[in-house]
Symmetry: C2
Subunit: 377 residues, 2 copies
């Protein structure tokens, strides 16, 4: 197992930390934002684009890859890295979140989940053992336990669900055969401090190499999410990476890095790009808006991405209005660059002990969009 986490520096004013996750397929400087490549492709981007953008970790999804093209097929190719021609680190989500989001199409019991495919309605069953076996076939560098992601504000359900999630975490750990993949536990417990505490303690006892925090950014208030992160900070082992799943928006990065988070993933930058929305240091622009029709400036004048170095807002708007695929690629390149560049600056300012100032400056300029939270899922 070549996986390890090296903590380089802790911020003096916040709980922010910077370090390096070492994996077989390369190093991931933290805090890290991982673009999402659900179906073995970060939508619209080539691996060459991702390398140019400086992506060090990408996500893929066990549920989606299991259904199409099949984990066995990916294994035939020597794993997902070879299949999609991405030589850097990959993380696979276990598919728990996806399966539980199939409302009406799934039935959970204490041993696993039976569900119907969103593609063709066929019936399938995931158990902790099955999900580990699939992730071993897919072959990512970082894999996840199979967990239940319950509604964050239903206490009684969270009590029952957390028992199950913990039992499944044990079974996942026992089921792991490959020694070259890092298996992370996932802390659940909704917005309830006692349950989150219990979960952190239980999983820490199981001694995972990394800890994910699940079940947040699913509709609860931001203050509740922040309170849970503040609570978990002293409970999780300092020398293990902490991954906040499915988060976040640009403002989330700052707030959650300040609370000790090392890893993020979110579909937001790629998804909104395909709707014509682009990220700037003042907030989001929607390029479909008529006011950009004759605008000769790039999305951001100071931006160093390929899109901003070559194209005006007017040209991007033209492509989007004309339903041209190139428009989706160029907005995606900009948004992923925005997130990764912001993370690069976050890492540097943590090292320099100026993160708190950078956070204040960024958030003073950035006007978040209310629906970011929901879209982030």
């Amino acid at each position: 197992m070549t996986f390890s986490f090296e903590l380089l520096h802790q911020d003096k004013q916040t709980n922010a930390r910077t370090g390096i996750i070492h994996t077989t397929h390369g190093d991931i400087p933290t805090p890290a934002f991982a673009p999402v490549g659900t179906q073995a492709t970060v939508k619209t981007l080539t691996p060459a684009n991702l390398h140019t953008l400086g992506a060090k970790l990408i996500l893929a999804n066990t549920y989606h890859l299991y259904l199409r093209p099949g984990a066995d097929l990916i294994a035939e190719f020597g794993g997902l890295h070879q299949f999609m021609s991405w030589s850097g680190p990959i993380l696979t989500d276990s598919g728990g979140y996806q399966v539980f989001s199939l409302k009406g199409l799934r039935k959970v019991d204490n041993y696993g989940v039976t569900f119907r495919s969103h593609l063709d309605g066929s019936t399938h069953r995931f158990t902790p053992e099955k999900v580990i076996a699939l992730q071993e076939q897919i072959g990512a560098d970082i894999i996840m336990v199979f967990d239940e992601c319950p509604p964050s504000n239903d206490y009684n359900y969270n009590v029952i669900s957390l028992e199950r999630t913990h039992h499944w975490a044990e079974r996942c750990k026992q089921a792991q055969k490959r020694t070259d993949q890092a298996l992370y536990g996932i802390v659940q417990g909704g917005i309830f401090p006692d349950l989150r505490t219990k979960s952190a303690e239980f999983l820490t006892e199981l001694d995972f190499v990394g800890y994910a925090i699940g079940g947040l950014s699913v509709g609860e208030k931001k203050v509740d999410m922040h309170a849970i992160l503040d609570l978990l900070h002293p409970l999780l082992p300092e020398n293990k990476p902490r991954y906040l799943m499915g988060v976040g928006s640009p403002e989330d990065l700052f707030e959650c890095v300040a609370r000790g988070i090392d890893q993020f993933d979110c579909v937001l930058p790629t998804r909104i790009a395909r709707n014509g929305a682009v990220l700037t240091h003042h907030g989001r622009l929607n390029l479909r808006n008529a006011k950009y029709a004759r605008q000769q400036k790039p999305i951001e004048t100071a931006c160093t991405c390929y899109t901003c170095q070559h194209f005006s807002q007017a040209y991007l708007r033209h492509l989007i209005k004309a339903n041209e695929i190139l428009g989706l690629q160029l907005t995606t390149i900009h948004n992923v660059h925005f997130m990764l560049e912001t993370m690069r600056r976050i890492r540097q300012t943590i090292l320099d002990d100026t993160f708190a100032q950078y956070k204040r400056d960024f958030l003073a300029n950035y006007r978040p969009v209310p629906e970011d939270r929901r879209r982030a899922i």
Copy 2:
């Protein structure tokens, strides 16, 4: 006017020729294949992709750009090169073909065409003067006269239409104000040798800097197209480039280069790519086919394009089946590479006096698809 055509070598066994078209925005080695960028983008490709692929000339369309985003808007940006960030040569088609294909939405008279937009049904009028003015706003290196593209096999209609096309060619030439754009005449006359001869003679008399051949590959038999090209070869001035509009498929390139054609454009490689069809030296593969599901080979083992250097047929099929945009980009890259690489070899073999042999070898292996002709329009 920096436009000129330099003839380098004529093949000994066929009418094939190789040369260089010099333009303000760079040299175009001939014979040349131009990828089509109708709406100011070669679909799915960035300008950086096009440079890497070795594209030396791309097409755009006056009709489409006039409707959206507007020629005046493009002029505000300093022209199409700046607007789309493509620094190489561009050719704009006059839009005649598009306007005449708007069946039921257009009415032609001797002075121009009144038509309704396919986008919003609004009414517009194109005259030769208007179309030249639009192309001067758009600012391509090579521009086209406004012509009528009639059904190729209706003799009586072609007689009337040719009169009009010739009159319009004169008006276009008189209307031209910019001296830094090369205006090509367009030979029409359907499949009728007497009309084609008349057209070549009339336009040669007008002394254009280049000659396009229009109204072919629109449903007539291949032998008829070849006969027209054989007829025109001695009639068109040797020292001017000859551009066969809207052609062609891989096999067309060979047959038409052998008949003296210097320039081609066709949507075929980019359009079929978006349907999952890729070009090989044995013919076309459709990657949607189940037999490619577990195929670890690239599209062509010997191919040097980014797609074949990195991805298997199985991965491409997965992307296409999962409706992933990356699949469209990767198949487009391969198909455009296939056309441009074939053209590079054609030019080299003309220089080496081995073109006839290369043509025989290529066509012996390549199995054309019957519908290629119709799709080429």
